[in-house]
């Protein structure tokens, strides 16, 4: 799909723009000519069967891997030229194996402020305020002094989302953040993302197999299949094709498995 169609007339300023991205591991082509744009305040889900190239796309989009063809622009700049990298928040897949690390929730979240203030600088009052705000958004304020290793998987994931939020990013990328997360945490997670999107105009790219928790809030669903963009449109259009994002009989994971 050409970029002019994706962007549309009068779209919000682009937080992320991928144009004709091709990427391969050795001879294995993983992404083949992907074009994708996400505007400020947009809530976009990226999904697809296992091995469809989702994580590779995220790595290329964040500048962690260089594409063989195509261009990446983050907040109007190439990843290498974006001076204020803290404007992009990232929650990696399986963010940390935390069971051996005696770090408190507050310490983990505060580590998200280091890049913004400068790595050699001491924390300032506004950093503490950003940590407080991020903890509030993910509803972990009461757990700030608890070691991360003592939290449930869902709470840990929320702590890492708070770390990404602590720098007040304009673009937030989350790679499989709700896999195996309890229902209460999924609700908190949904509230946190929707607040950032709708209130603060943060662009959110959520990579996941499970979109039930956020199905009603998404602006677009992007479906990758075999390294190609198989679908890019509103959830309603996907529903019209007989696929529900919720937990119904024809839900997304089952459908994706069928595609794979």
């Amino acid at each position: 799909m050409p970029l002019s169609e994706i962007r549309g007339a009068g779209a919000a300023p682009e937080a992320m723009c991928l144009d004709g991205i091709s990427f391969s591991y050795g001879r294995h082509l993983v992404l083949d000519g992907i074009s994708l744009a996400i505007g400020a305040g947009e809530f976009v889900a990226l999904t697809g069967p296992n091995g469809s190239g989702k994580s590779s796309l995220v790595r290329v989009a964040l500048g962690l891997s260089a594409p063989q063809a195509g261009t990446v622009r983050l907040l109007g700049h190439s990843p290498a030229a974006l001076g204020q990298r803290w404007r992009v928040g990232y929650v990696p897949q399986r963010a940390m194996l935390a069971d051996h690390l005696p770090a408190t929730v507050e310490e983990v979240v505060a580590s998200g402020c280091v890049a913004r203030r400068g790595w050699y600088r001491r924390p300032r009052p506004q950093d503490a305020a950003r940590v407080d705000a991020a903890l509030d958004v993910v509803a972990l304020d009461d757990h700030r002094h608890v070691p991360v290793a003592e939290l449930s998987g869902g709470q840990q994931q929320r702590a890492f989302i708070a770390r990404a939020l602590a720098s007040e990013p304009e673009l937030l990328v989350l790679d499989e953040p709700i896999a195996g997360v309890d229902v209460e945490s999924q609700g908190r997670f949904r509230d946190a993302l929707v607040t950032r999107c709708r209130t603060d105009g943060v662009a959110v790219l959520l990579v996941s197999h499970e979109l039930g928790a956020v199905a009603e809030d998404l602006d677009r669903v992007v479906l990758l299949r075999g390294g190609h963009l198989a679908f890019d449109g509103p959830p309603a259009k996907l529903t019209a094709e007989g696929v529900s994002l919720g937990v119904h009989h024809m839900d997304l994971p089952v459908w994706l498995e069928g595609l794979g």
């Binding site: 964040l62 990696p92 003592e150």
Partner: protein
């Protein structure tokens, strides 16, 4: 000059040993805390073996073994980290290559220098009771450098060891911080070489941290506990060594291992979870 300290630190040689030992007791666990979180617990061991090659090279070339060890150890540690960062080799494979190359080069070079004798053994196992005032000044200077860098960079280093990829996306200078930590590891090893020796230096980087993890509930507290246990092990180890006529380097490490055994047995909740 001898300070009016009580037994067992009433003699000058014990006071010099105490000064050098306390610096190492502070710095080794401090750096070790970051290495353990990076799952590079044996980095100190690998760098220690390269420092051994450096000592031998210094003896062969007729230059100061300590400064030669520092040069070789810093270069080797940064190369290990560079290989890991560039994914040319996994962390443990890169370590193993340098670990064995270091000890082999040390044996060959010291053979060439005709110095594979008691002199080399003081570097392998430490000789803290023969620390000269000049050695103590050098060790204190290296310790001050380590403390100054950690005081400025520890929050950024924590962000990197917590999640290297997220730190890279956020724009932290991950490569520079990782290479800096590797260089500090080498400086610590060389500072500790006279105290516990290159064969045991990694123990002071790892054992106090393992103990601290079992009693601390935050990363900052882990750093504080690790340093306290490191300094406590050095002081108690030196006292026991004098009282019993024991080898001081080995005694310091055994005290540190005993502290680990106690915290592993009676440590807090984190210990219970990771045991």
């Amino acid at each position: 000059m001898t300070l009016p300290l009580p037994w067992p630190f009433d003699r000058q040689y014990m006071q010099l040993a105490l000064a050098a030992g306390v610096v190492v007791g502070v710095c080794a666990p401090l750096i070790g805390t970051f290495l353990v979180q990076k799952r590079l617990s044996l980095m100190g061991d690998g760098v220690g073996h390269m420092a051994f090659a450096g000592v031998a090279a210094g003896l062969l070339a007729g230059v100061s073994p300590l400064w030669a060890a520092l040069a070789v150890a810093v270069a080797g540690a940064m190369t290990i980290e560079w290989l890991r960062l560039r994914r040319r080799a996994s962390g443990d494979l890169a370590l193993a290559v340098f670990f064995y190359s270091g000890i082999a080069a040390g044996v060959v070079l010291s053979g060439l220098a005709g110095s594979l004798n008691a002199g080399m053994l003081t570097y392998l196992f430490g000789s803290v009771l023969t620390v000269s005032p000049a050695d103590a000044v050098t060790i204190c200077a290296l310790g001050t450098l380590i403390l100054a860098v950690v005081a400025v960079a520890w929050r950024a280093m924590f962000a990197v060891v917590l999640d290297e990829e997220a730190a890279r996306v956020a724009g932290l200078p991950v490569d520079a911080l990782s290479l800096g930590l590797a260089a500090l590891t080498a400086v610590t090893v060389v500072a500790a070489m006279r105290v516990v020796g290159v064969l045991l230096v990694a123990a002071l980087m790892v054992l106090p941290v393992g103990s601290a993890q079992r009693v601390a509930r935050s990363f900052a507290a882990t750093l504080r506990w690790a340093v306290a246990i490191g300094v406590g092990s050095v002081v108690a180890g030196l006292a026991l060594a004098r009282a019993g006529g024991l080898a001081p380097g080995g005694t310091i490490v055994l005290v540190s291992a005993a502290a680990f055994a106690v915290t592993a047995a009676f440590g807090g909740r984190l210990g219970a979870r990771t045991a």
